[in-house]
C-alpha cells in the first residue's frame, strides 16, 4: 500500500506589501540591502477579517473546483496552522462544515510551522497506509502577519501569509510518498515564539509594553519574536544531517535526487544551505521573492510552481525546518499531480 499526492492547490491573500512600501513606512530600514540579502521583495498579507482557516478554505475550494477528487471522498482532514480561529474548537472541525465534508470525516488541527507540511504528509501517509483513511485532505494556512509588530524589522521583512490544500490518496495515482523523517529539539523553543496568548501567559486587559531591542526592532510579548542567529545555527546543524539521514534510509545519494524543495526561509539561508551541501543551483529552487516566507506553506507553494517541469519518476526531496525547533524531510517519486498554483 502506498500513499500518493494526487492534487495540490494554493491560495495567496490579495494584499501585497512591497519593500518600497516598507521603506516608505520605516525610513531607517535599508530595504534595498535587506531585499538583496533575503531575496524577498514583496509579501502577501491576509485582510483584517481574513484568517488562516478562511484562506485554507479558499485553497480547498479551488482544489475541488479544479481537481477530479470529490469532496465526499475525503475521509480525513488535517489542518496545519499556528493561527487557529479559536483556542477551541479546532479550526479543522469548522472547516469540515464549511467545506461540506462527510460527517464521517476525521478532522484535527496540528500546530507546526516550517516543518508542518512534512508532518502533514507523514501523518497522511500513515493514515492511508494503515487503512484508516482513503483520501486525506491536508490543509496548511498561516497568518504570522497577525502576530508581527509592524515596526519589527527582523520578521516583518520576511514573513508572508498563505494557504495550501493537498490530497493524499491510497486509491488513486499520484506522487508517491516513499518515506519521511522528522526530528525535534524543544530546547530551541524560545527562539521563534509568540510568548503571550496561550495558557502559559494569557492575554491581559492592560496593553503590553512595546519594547525596542538592540537592533531597533519594536515588539511586545504578544508579538512574534525571532532570534535569527540561533535559527541560522540550528539550521546549519540539523538540515544537512537530516538530508543525509533521509538519503541513507532510502539508499540514494544526492545525485540521484532530481529536485530539492527546501522550506523557503530566506535566500541568504537557503543559498547558504545549498552551497554547504554542494547541491547545484538548478536542483534547489527559490520561490519567495514575491511572497516571502510563508511558514508551512512554502514547500507546497514551491512544489506547485515547479511542478510543470517535473517528470514522472523524478525523485523529489522536501525539507522543512524551523519553529519548535522542528524539522522534517520527505522523499517523493513524482507522477502526474493535478496542480492549481497560486495566483
Amino acid at each position: 500500500m502506498s500513499a500518493n499526492i494526487t492534487a495540490l492547490s494554493c491560495y495567496l491573500p490579495e494584499r501585497k506589501v512591497s519593500n518600497q512600501e516598507l521603506q516608505a513606512e520605516n525610513p531607517t530600514w535599508d530595504m534595498e540591502h535587506i531585499g538583496q540579502k533575503t531575496g524577498i521583495l514583496c509579501r502577501r498579507t491576509a485582510a483584517e477579517n481574513e484568517t488562516a482557516a478562511d484562506m485554507a478554505f479558499s485553497a480547498a475550494e479551488r482544489l475541488f473546483d479544479t481537481a477530479s477528487v470529490k469532496r465526499e471522498e475525503i475521509d480525513y482532514l488535517l489542518f496545519c496552522t499556528q493561527s487557529p480561529d479559536y483556542a477551541l474548537p479546532a479550526s479543522a472541525c469548522i472547516l469540515q462544515d464549511r467545506l461540506q465534508l462527510s460527517v464521517n470525516c476525521g478532522a484535527i488541527d496540528f500546530n507546526q510551522g516550517c516543518s508542518g507540511y512534512i508532518y502533514g504528509l507523514q501523518l497522511a501517509n500513515a493514515l492511508v497506509c494503515s487503512g484508516t483513511a482513503r483520501n486525506v485532505l491536508l490543509l496548511t494556512g498561516e497568518t504570522y502577519s497577525k502576530y508581527i509588530n509592524c515596526r519589527d524589522r527582523s520578521v516583518r521583512t520576511l514573513f508572508g501569509d498563505a494557504a495550501t490544500a493537498t490530497v493524499i490518496s491510497g486509491s488513486k495515482p499520484g506522487a508517491r510518498i516513499i518515506t519521511t523523517e522528522v526530528g525535534t529539539d524543544g530546547s530551541g523553543s524560545s527562539n521563534l515564539i509568540v510568548p503571550v496568548g496561550g495558557a502559559r501567559q494569557r492575554f491581559s486587559a492592560t496593553p503590553l509594553p512595546e519594547l525596542c531591542d538592540e537592533n531597533g526592532s519594536i515588539r511586545s510579548a504578544a508579538n512574534l519574536f525571532m532570534n535569527g542567529q540561533e535559527l541560522f545555527t540550528f539550521t546549519l546543524k540539523r538540515v544537512p544531517a537530516l538530508i543525509d539521514r533521509l538519503l541513507t534510509k532510502t539508499g540514494l545519494v544526492a545525485n540521484d535526487v532530481d529536485l530539492f524543495v527546501f522550506h523557503q526561509a530566506n535566500a541568504f539561508m537557503n543559498e547558504y544551505l545549498r552551497k554547504k551541501m554542494h547541491l547545484p543551483r538548478e536542483k534547489v529552487p527559490l520561490f519567495m521573492s514575491d511572497i516571502g516566507n510563508t511558514v508551512s506553506n512554502t514547500i507546497p507553494l514551491t512544489l506547485s510552481s515547479i511542478a510543470p517541469q517535473l517528470l514522472p519518476g523524478n525523485k523529489v526531496v522536501l525539507v522543512g525546518f524551523g519553529v519548535g525547533y522542528s524539522w522534517g524531510a520527505g522523499l517523493l517519486e513524482w507522477a502526474d499531480v493535478e496542480v492549481s498554483p497560486a495566483v
Binding site: E214, F232, F268
Partner: protein, 78 residues
C-alpha cells in the same frame, strides 16, 4: 588563519573595505552593522574555517578584536 584574514572576513560581511576595520572599535559603532552582517560572519566562518559561534559568544563580543580573539582561540583548540 591570520588576523588579517579575519579582518578581511569581517569587512566582507559589513560590505566595507578591510582598511576601514579598526579592531578596537566597538562593533555596534559601525554604521553598516546589523543582524544580517552577523549572519554573514557566521556563514563565512562556518564555510572557510568550520567554526561555529554560539549565541553566548555573540553576547560577549564588544569589539572586532573580541571576535578575532574568540575565533583564534577556537581554531587553536581544534
Amino acid at each position: 588563519m591570520t588576523n588579517a584574514e579575519l579582518v578581511e572576513l569581517f569587512a566582507e560581511a559589513l560590505e566595507i573595505e578591510a582598511s576601514a576595520i579598526q579592531p578596537e572599535k566597538e562593533i555596534a559603532e559601525y554604521k553598516e552593522w546589523n543582524s544580517l552582517a552577523w549572519l554573514t560572519i557566521m556563514a563565512l566562518l562556518d564555510e572557510r574555517y568550520n567554526i561555529q559561534l554560539s549565541a553566548a559568544d555573540f553576547r560577549s563580543f564588544v569589539t572586532v578584536q573580541d571576535v578575532i580573539d574568540n575565533i583564534t582561540s577556537k581554531a587553536s583548540a581544534a
